[in-house]
């Protein structure tokens, strides 16, 4: 395996693949009970009523509105884009989401539907594409690279890759690193810019917090712009403790280098009150700076409607119902 050094690895004085792997293997462990207790404690924070609207709007701005189904069509993607841009037509002040997240062959439809509304998540709605034989990742590196390049060429702003969990679980961190590094290169557009890379660890398959911590560090060292919990296709998907752990890694990286890496919990966050707990975790672990589309995302589909219902309740003073938000 050829080692492609990264600036980040160099920064830690890690000049070979062996040294990168040795570094992540030597990371101190995580005590699961303590981590889960910390997450549970964060979940007890209650935010001010007056802050709730701002929190709900923040959640919307951080959503990667997602459709990742075998049955996806151009039409389905068009309605997803419409919803992303105008989540609640009855309340035009509702912010738009950060991104739409689709399969590679749907990227062109998303790009077309967005038109000039496409952007980087802040300037406009970003198009994120899963890639690398999502969700299992069980294919050859060539195909994964091709998958990635295709999505980038079709105009994806962001690539959500999956790591090789089999390699990680068998201790072959070399392969995990090298693949991420190769995909990161495949994200290059040739003009000095690159599609932002989110690295999906599929934490539900890594199973232990120690492995999740190692994979988080490895992904960052290999060039990830974001570390992401899950594909949404494996249970458990995002959990608060896992996200807290990944935020802690991102915090440690920031303290070490001054560089900010993003975190994306994805899958299983369906309710506003759950999402607010993630906001609390972000604020208390890495700080409010991270509540920015370039640094934090929710990978979700049904969360948006729940947030809209809560938002309507805040505005009208009475509880809303599912028929008052659009199905897609």
């Amino acid at each position: 395996m050829t080692f492609i050094a990264t600036e980040r690895a160099n920064r830690l004085g890690l000049s070979s693949l062996d040294s990168v792997v040795a570094f992540v293997k030597a990371l101190p462990g995580v005590d699961a009970v303590g981590l889960e207790a910390r997450a549970a404690n964060l979940a007890t924070r209650s935010i001010k009523n007056s802050s709730k609207m701002a929190a709900l709007d923040t959640i919307i701005r951080l959503i990667d509105l997602t459709t990742l189904e075998g049955a996806d069509t151009a039409g389905k993607v068009r309605s997803l884009v419409a919803k992303a841009a105008t989540p609640d037509a009855s309340h035009p002040d509702t912010p738009r989401v950060a991104a739409v997240c689709v399969y590679p062959d749907m990227v062109e439809h998303a790009v077309a539907a967005l038109g000039s509304r496409q952007g980087d998540g802040v300037t406009g709605i970003s198009v994120a594409s899963v890639a690398t034989a999502f969700p299992s990742g069980r294919s050859t590196l060539d195909i994964k690279i091709a998958d990635t390049r295709y999505a980038v060429e079709k105009g994806a702003n962001e690539i959500d890759m999956v790591i090789d969990r089999g390699a990680a679980l068998s201790g072959d961190w070399e392969t995990v690193y090298s693949e991420i590094r190769a995909i990161r290169e495949a994200c290059d557009r040739g003009d000095g810019t690159h599609a932002h890379l989110k690295v999906i660890l599929e934490t539900g398959e890594l199973a232990t917090y120690d492995a999740i911590k190692r994979a988080s560090w490895l992904a960052i060292l290999a060039g990830a712009d974001f570390i992401k919990t899950s594909t949404g296709k494996v249970q458990p998907a995002a959990t608060l403790p896992t996200t807290v752990l990944m935020l802690e890694v991102v915090r440690d990286w920031f303290l070490l280098t001054g560089e900010k890496i993003g975190v994306k919990p994805a899958g299983g966050i369906r309710q506003s009150k759950d999402a607010i707990r993630y906001l609390v975790a972000v604020v208390e672990t890495v700080g409010e700076d991270w509540l920015h589309p370039h640094l934090f995302r929710f990978g979700a589909s049904s969360l948006l409607n729940d947030v809209l219902l809560q938002r309507q309740k805040m505005l009208t003073g009475h509880y809303s119902g599912p028929d008052y938000v659009t199905v897609d």
């Binding site: 005590d31 699961a32 009970v33 232990t208």
Partner: protein
């Protein structure tokens, strides 16, 4: 041809050695009809202090020995004591005038007591400790541990000069305590011969320390000694212990009050000289 006997010098037993009292004092021990038997070292407060230092330095090692090993050592004491039965019978009789049968019964009871406690060494934790089913992801175990350095008073009743000593030592040391014991003042010969048994029984120096002399003189110093963890007065009935108990209270020293059946074989005796330690640890697959 007659053989001129060589009387034994009865000395203290501290840290595995047989020193004279640092004070140089001795006192006379007499038989039932007033016949002189021996000069016995009369321990001073400084001897008591030295004994506590010896007991303290031996304690962690003794507690750290395996329970199986402690049981072997206690059983070894029984063996050595049994082998010297005739000597102890004679000594007991010389001081108290007891019949051969009574003296022999006491020695046998003392041997049996060691055998009984020896067997507890690697079982006591199983009956005194347990897992605790706490409500949460925790492994939780309570185990008995020796309380540390125990000061005990052997029975001062001359009818119990050996068994009253053994019952003041065995329940303490079986779990890993070390002990400083005040022997029967009027009938100390068995105690001092018992020290010889101890010194030949693989008992690490300092685990058992035996002082002869006046409990009334020494005990205030031992009771108030901050480095003593427990005061075992189970066999001290007839002595005035209240002031000792008060002195011990100042450093929260554990106190076992005088009790009637101090020679009975009772787990209760072990219970009184242990601490319960409870250990929590997190449990998770993740």
């Amino acid at each position: 041809m007659s053989h001129m006997s060589i009387p034994k010098t009865y000395k203290l037993f501290i840290g595995g050695k047989f020193p004279r009292s640092e004070s140089g004092r001795v006192y006379d021990v007499h038989g039932p009809k007033g016949v002189f038997l021996a000069n016995v070292a009369q321990a001073s407060r400084k001897d008591a202090r030295d004994a506590v230092v010896a007991a303290r330095s031996a304690q962690s090692g003794w507690a750290g020995a395996t329970a199986y090993n402690r049981g072997q050592v206690l059983y070894r004491i029984a063996e050595m004591l049994d082998g010297r039965t005739e000597q102890f019978v004679a000594e007991i009789r010389s001081v108290t005038g007891a019949s051969d049968k009574v003296a022999r019964a006491e020695v046998h009871a003392a041997v049996d007591m060691w055998v009984w406690y020896a067997g507890w060494a690697d079982k006591y934790a199983q009956i005194a400790g347990n897992a605790n089913p706490v409500s949460g992801p925790f492994f939780n175990l309570s185990v008995p541990e020796p309380t540390g350095v125990v000061v005990s008073v052997a029975s001062q009743d001359t009818a119990y000069s050996l068994i009253g000593l053994v019952s003041a030592i065995a329940p303490a040391i079986v779990t890993g305590n070390t002990v400083v014991v005040i022997a029967n003042e009027a009938a100390p010969l068995a105690a001092l011969s018992f020290a010889e048994v101890v010194s030949t029984s693989d008992v690490p120096g300092g685990v058992i320390n035996i002082l002869t002399g006046s409990a009334a003189e020494i005990m205030p110093w031992l009771a108030s000694h901050a480095d003593v963890n427990a005061l075992d007065l189970a066999a001290a009935s007839g002595l005035s212990t209240v002031e000792w108990e008060k002195a011990a209270a100042d450093t929260l020293t554990r106190i076992v009050r005088p009790r009637a059946a101090f020679t009975s074989l009772s787990v209760d005796r072990i219970d009184a000289l242990v601490e319960t330690k409870t250990i929590w640890h997190t449990k998770s697959l993740a």
